[in-house]
Structures are given as structure tokens and as C-alpha cells.
């Protein structure tokens, strides 16, 4: 199955689509690729002043600036991938209507572009970790599976949204609002401990993004981070976020596969 998905042709197509996407992304801008690094940096500077210096939200959390940055980088990856995937199939309508290529490839190449951006952003995070003298622990290795979980979650949603967008153009607006809600429902700007009620904390952590953001902070920045495991102890509810991820992946892939036959005529 995977062998067929990543045949020689598909790999060639993927690399060429991602390459083109990157070439065109910063076309006409003076700094070009540098914006991939500058953007998160500048956004971080703003948030640093607002949340660390003025509001002092992170009192008590070690390395709070980096902690904040990592959360933002991960969340931005999720936003970028899902938002760009939503319009990816429609945006590549010229190809889909005129050439037989695997439709999922369009979403996949978009996700790859987002992944490359994530990698660049993580470089910025690493630099700040070094500046802040964050202690490097062996939990660092956990970052890989956590990122994979986020990617799979985003991929499932991306397939679902991309297919839905072909038929219903309202989806992009709905998703924008949902993302905004998700941003505040996820402990990115504020530490989870700022929520007084433990019950609310528990509910919030069932969201895969909240669970993953806290987990990766635990793995990379500080073990003082509240995670779903420390909240629920040995409760079986710990698996809820993972079930949600798998559910979205299947739902997305299934719906996309079902609809992709008719993309050419519906776009």
C-alpha cells in the first residue's frame, strides 16, 4: 500500500510540487526565504512583550518565553497546514480538471510545504532554547512522535476540509472561526495552571492539540508542564485525544477518497 503511494512517479511529483510551491511562495519579496524565519521571530517579539513583560502570564513557569514560542510554532503549523490544504484542491483546479494525477497528492504536497516551514521554525526555537540555557534532556526524543501525532491530526482534517471545500465554499470561513476558538481553548498563550478549575483543565486536555502542545513542551522545555498523564493519572480517558486523531484521519481519508472521483467536475 505505502509502496504504491510512494511510487517513483508520485515521489517525483511530490518533490516538484513542493519545490514549485517554495519557489513561488516568496516571489517578489526582497528577503525571500528569510521570511520563513523572520515571521515567527517577529510574532514572538510581539507576544513576548505583551504576555511576558506586560501581562506577566508566565510567572512561575521556567523558560516561559521559549515555552510560549514553542506553543505558537506548533499551533501555527497546524493552522498553516489546515488552512492551505482547505483551498489546495480548488486552487489546483487547473491540474485536476486536465490531468490525471493522484488527487491526494495535492493535499499531501501542501502538507509538505507546511512541514518544511515547521522545520525552519523549530530551528528558531532551538536557537532560543540555547539562548535561554534550557536543559537538554533525553525526553527530547519524544518530540518526534508528538510532532507525528500533530501532523497526522492535521492531515486528517486537511483531507476532510479540502474535499468539503470543493462543494461548500463556506467551509473556509467556518474553519477560520473554529481555529480561533481552538486557539483560545488550547493553552498556548496562557499556562494551563492559570485555569482555576481542574475540571476545565481536564476537559481542555482532551483536545489533541492541547495534549500535544503540552506534551512537546514537557519533552523539550520543562518537566513542570502539566500533561494529560499528570492530570488524569491512570484514567482510560488518556487515550481520548489519540482516538480523536485516528478518527479524523480515517474520516478525512474516507471522505476525500469518496469525493475525489468527482473533483474534476465539481470544481
Amino acid at each position: 500500500m505505502l509502496k504504491r503511494l510512494f511510487s517513483k512517479q508520485n515521489r517525483a511529483l511530490l518533490s516538484e510540487l513542493v519545490r514549485t510551491d517554495f519557489k513561488l511562495r516568496y516571489q517578489g519579496s526582497v528577503l525571500g526565504y528569510l521570511w520563513s524565519l523572520l515571521r515567527p521571530l517577529l510574532i514572538f517579539v510581539i507576544l513576548y512583550f505583551v504576555f511576558v513583560k506586560f501581562l506577566k502570564l508566565g510567572n512561575g513557569v521556567p523558560h516561559y518565553p521559549v515555552y510560549l514560542l514553542l506553543g505558537i510554532v506548533v499551533w501555527n503549523f497546524f493552522v498553516e497546514m489546515t488552512v492551505q490544504s482547505t483551498s489546495s484542491v480548488v486552487g489546483r483546479g487547473d491540474l485536476i480538471r486536465k490531468i490525471r494525477i493522484p488527487r491526494w497528492m495535492v493535499v499531501f504536497s501542501t502538507s509538505f510545504s507546511a512541514l518544511i516551514n515547521l522545520a525552519l521554525n523549530l530551528v528558531v526555537v532551538a536557537v532560543f532554547m540555547a539562548i535561554n540555557h534550557v536543559e537538554i534532556r533525553n525526553t527530547l526524543l519524544l518530540a518526534a512522535p508528538i510532532l507525528l501525532e500533530i501532523y497526522i491530526f492535521a492531515l486528517g482534517i486537511s483531507f476532510l476540509l479540502a474535499a468539503l471545500f470543493v462543494k461548500f465554499r463556506d467551509i473556509s470561513y467556518i474553519w477560520e472561526v473554529l481555529l480561533q476558538a481552538g486557539f483560545y481553548a488550547t493553552p498556548i498563550l496562557y499556562p494551563l495552571s492559570r485555569i482555576p478549575s481542574i475540571a476545565f483543565q481536564k476537559i481542555i486536555m482532551l483536545n489533541p492539540m492541547a495534549q500535544a502542545v503540552q506534551d512537546i513542551r514537557f519533552a523539550l522545555i520543562t518537566h513542570q508542564t502539566t500533561t494529560i498523564y499528570s492530570l488524569y493519572r491512570n484514567n482510560y480517558l488518556i487515550i481520548v485525544p489519540f482516538i480523536v486523531v485516528v478518527l479524523f484521519l480515517f474520516l478525512g481519508v474516507f471522505y476525500f477518497k469518496m469525493q475525489s472521483k468527482y473533483f474534476a467536475e465539481n470544481i
Partner: protein, 405 residues
């Protein structure tokens, strides 16, 4: 199962498109439409029950008027659409695109576009590097490869696209009206390329409007109209039938036009206030397949004047806007009365005319000063088909060769 010498087998294929009155791609539209229950839907039957086979090594032509379902059929074969019903079996690899230069990006250079287009056709960088020189050679664009595509002329873009497309080594090549691209020299190049493909017995499907190409390349051809197969057979027959259908369609459209705006200015029919009516109506068939020596094309010229003025009528038979035969009524000495309908019949002997489409026109002149007061050139044509052996030329050759020793 289909036998090995069949490249494409299409059986009972139909394709419906659901036309939404206002494309229900908003949630509101969905809710409103499901409320009204299908009221917003209209089903367009683009193809119905199409069946045919293409053999391996065959040069197969598909012709049809705009909107006949050609493109839908191609997209179905290429796997871009899926059929509503019926089965499509492709034996081998078919080119996946139905248009040249798909995915070309104006912001990328010629070189980058070659690699991108190659990837869309399934080639990786290494393979593309190997054939890059060939592609650029064929397109004759060496100097321009590092220029952005948006700086190319449209002819250059098509040349590049065509050069990449023919490199897509597939078992079945699908070409949609690409023969009319580029300048004369490039067309010549494409020509010889097609001839070589034909010799190599590559399976090719050509969709075109140019009947010359159908006759020149195709082994077999198919005519589709209104989503149905109208005729499959020899290219000459299909080409003739297609031309005939076009004539009929032209005629009906020009007739309905003249009904509504009979006195309005038009480039092909103009009547002054002295002439009320000037029509040409064919009395014999419009298509002559292998006509005998004394067959004739017969038509009536029907006209009516609004004033008692002495006039003469003239007709001419044209081939591609060149007048071959002209004949006027000077010798007939007709006395014309106003508001009377006159009908004159004219017979064109066919024995000297070779294969082709001939147009008939009529004109009315005022005797005094020989002033043109009405003409009609758009409503009547006929076709002669003398078969393949007739050779070229508009006039049948009556000459002879003599060998002097």
C-alpha cells in the same frame, strides 16, 4: 476479457453532469435545495451509451461539433472523470493529460516548467535531465530556457508544451487539437513526427476539427454528436458526414437569423431597398459521394423586387472564396415586375469539380450602371467526395501524360 490487440474498449458509457441552478456550493444553498428537493438540479446528459474500440497501433480520429461530448469522452478515457455508467478498459498506459501545457506556471522559467511538467507526466528529475536536451531541441527554444514563461510568446509556450508532451512515452497517445499550433516550420516538424509515429504503429487518438488531418493520418474515425456515436468508419466518410452536419447547422442558424433580421446589414447577405428577398435553396442532395459523369448540383434562386427596375441576376460557385464558375441572366431578358416572386433554377455540372466543399452565392445587379443592389453568399454549399484516388486540385484533371522517347 478483451483480446490483446485492443488498446481501448469502451462499452455503454454514459456521463451525466448535475447542473445546479446556482451551483449549490454554499451551506445555505445546500439547505435550501434539500428543502426544495431537487428543484435546483438539472441533469445534463453529456454522453449516452457510447461504445467503441480502438485497436493497438491504430490512428483513431474523434470528430464532433463543439459541445458534442468529445472532451467529456477524452476526460473519461484519461481517467479525469469517472463514468456514470458503463465500462472503460484501457490496455496499456494512456497519456494522462488532455490539454497541452497543463500546470505551466508563468512565474517559473522555461527550464523549471519542463521539470514540473515532466513530474506531472510521471518522470523524476534524473529521467527529465536525460531527455531535457531533446525537448529543448525539438522546441527550438535554447536561448529562452532561463527566461520566465510569462515572457514567452503563446507560440513558444505551445511549442515547449508540445515537445514535452510527445516525450511522455505512453502506449496510447491522446492529442486534442494540437496540430494547428506553431508556425509553418514547426507544423512541418510535427507533421513528420506524426508520420513517424504512424509508421512505428503507436496507438494514437486524435481529436480535431480539421478534416484534412483526419484524412491524412487516421486509419479510422468516429463522429459524435449530442453525446452519441453517430458514425464509426473510414476517415473520409466520417469527415464528409461531419462537414455535412456542419453545413446543415450553418444553414439552420443562418435561416433563423434571416427571419429575424432580414434587412439588417451583414457581411454575407445584404439587400438594398429595391430587393425584398434573395434566397438560395438547394434542390438536390448536398453531398455527392463518387458522383457520376453527369450528376448535377441543382439549386433555386428565389427573389422579389420592390420596384419595377430592370435587373440581372448572377450566381457564382466558390471554392475557399475563389470564384470558379460565374453565370448571369443577361441573355434571358426577364421582365421584372415589382412584388412578384421569381424562382430561377440553376444546375451545376459536377464532372469538372474535384473533392471539396463548394459555396454558392447569388447577386442582383441593376442593369443601368451595373450596380450591385443585393447579394447572398452564406446560405448554400455542397460537397463532392471522389474518394482517395482522385488526387489533389480543385478541378478534375483531364490532362494526359505522354512519354517522348
Amino acid at each position: 476479457m478483451m483480446s490483446d490487440d485492443i488498446a481501448i474498449h469502451i462499452s455503454g458509457v454514459s456521463k451525466d453532469f448535475v447542473l445546479d441552478r446556482d451551483k449549490e456550493n454554499t451551506i445555505k444553498g445546500l439547505i435550501v435545495n434539500s428543502w426544495k428537493r431537487n428543484k435546483g438540479h438539472k441533469v445534463l446528459n453529456a454522453l449516452s451509451d457510447v461504445s467503441f474500440e480502438v485497436k493497438k497501433g491504430e490512428f483513431f480520429g474523434i470528430v464532433g461539433r463543439n459541445g458534442s461530448g468529445k472532451s467529456t469522452l477524452l476526460k473519461l478515457m484519461a481517467g479525469i472523470y469517472s463514468p456514470t455508467s458503463g465500462r472503460i478498459t484501457i490496455n496499456g498506459k494512456l497519456t494522462p493529460f488532455i490539454e497541452l501545457g497543463v500546470g505551466f506556471n508563468p512565474e517559473l522559467t522555461g527550464r523549471e516548467n519542463v521539470y514540473l511538467n515532466g513530474a506531472l507526466l510521471g518522470f523524476n528529475r534524473k529521467e527529465m535531465r536525460a531527455m531535457y536536451e531533446d525537448i529543448v531541441d525539438f522546441a527550438e527554444l535554447h536561448k529562452f530556457m532561463d527566461q520566465k514563461l510569462k515572457n514567452y510568446s503563446s507560440g513558444m509556450q505551445v511549442r515547449l508544451a508540445f515537445s514535452i508532451a510527445i516525450k511522455a512515452q505512453s502506449d496510447i497517445l491522446v492529442l486534442d487539437e494540437v496540430l494547428a499550433v506553431g508556425d509553418a516550420a514547426f507544423q512541418q516538424k510535427c507533421n513528420s513526427y506524426f508520420q513517424s509515429l504512424k509508421r512505428k504503429e503507436q496507438t494514437i487518438i486524435l481529436v480535431t476539427h480539421a478534416m484534412d488531418n483526419v484524412n491524412r493520418y487516421c486509419d479510422r474515425a468516429m463522429l459524435i454528436g449530442d453525446g452519441k456515436v453517430k458514425l464509426i468508419g473510414k476517415p473520409e466518410d466520417v469527415a464528409n458526414q461531419y462537414t455535412l452536419e456542419n453545413l446543415n447547422a450553418e444553414k439552420t442558424s443562418s435561416k433563423s437569423k434571416s427571419k429575424v433580421v432580414s434587412n439588417e446589414d451583414g457581411s454575407t447577405r445584404k439587400l438594398s431597398e429595391h430587393v425584398k428577398r434573395l434566397d438560395i435553396v438547394a434542390q438536390s442532395p448536398l453531398l455527392f459521394t463518387k458522383p457520376t459523369q453527369d450528376e448535377e448540383f441543382v439549386f433555386d434562386v428565389i427573389y422579389e423586387l420592390t420596384e419595377d427596375i430592370p435587373v440581372d441576376l448572377g450566381i457564382s460557385v466558390l471554392y475557399q472564396n475563389v470564384s470558379l464558375i460565374e453565370h448571369n441572366t443577361k441573355k434571358l431578358k426577364i421582365n421584372h415586375n415589382k412584388n412578384t416572386i421569381y424562382t430561377l433554377t440553376y444546375k451545376v455540372p459536377l464532372k469538372n469539380l474535384n473533392s471539396g466543399r463548394f459555396d454558392v452565392s447569388a447577386a442582383i445587379f441593376q442593369k443601368k450602371g451595373f450596380i450591385l443592389i443585393g447579394f447572398n453568399t452564406d446560405s448554400c454549399s455542397f460537397i463532392i467526395d471522389r474518394g482517395v484516388k482522385s488526387g489533389g486540385g480543385v478541378i478534375v484533371s483531364r490532362g494526359e501524360w505522354l512519354i517522348n522517347e
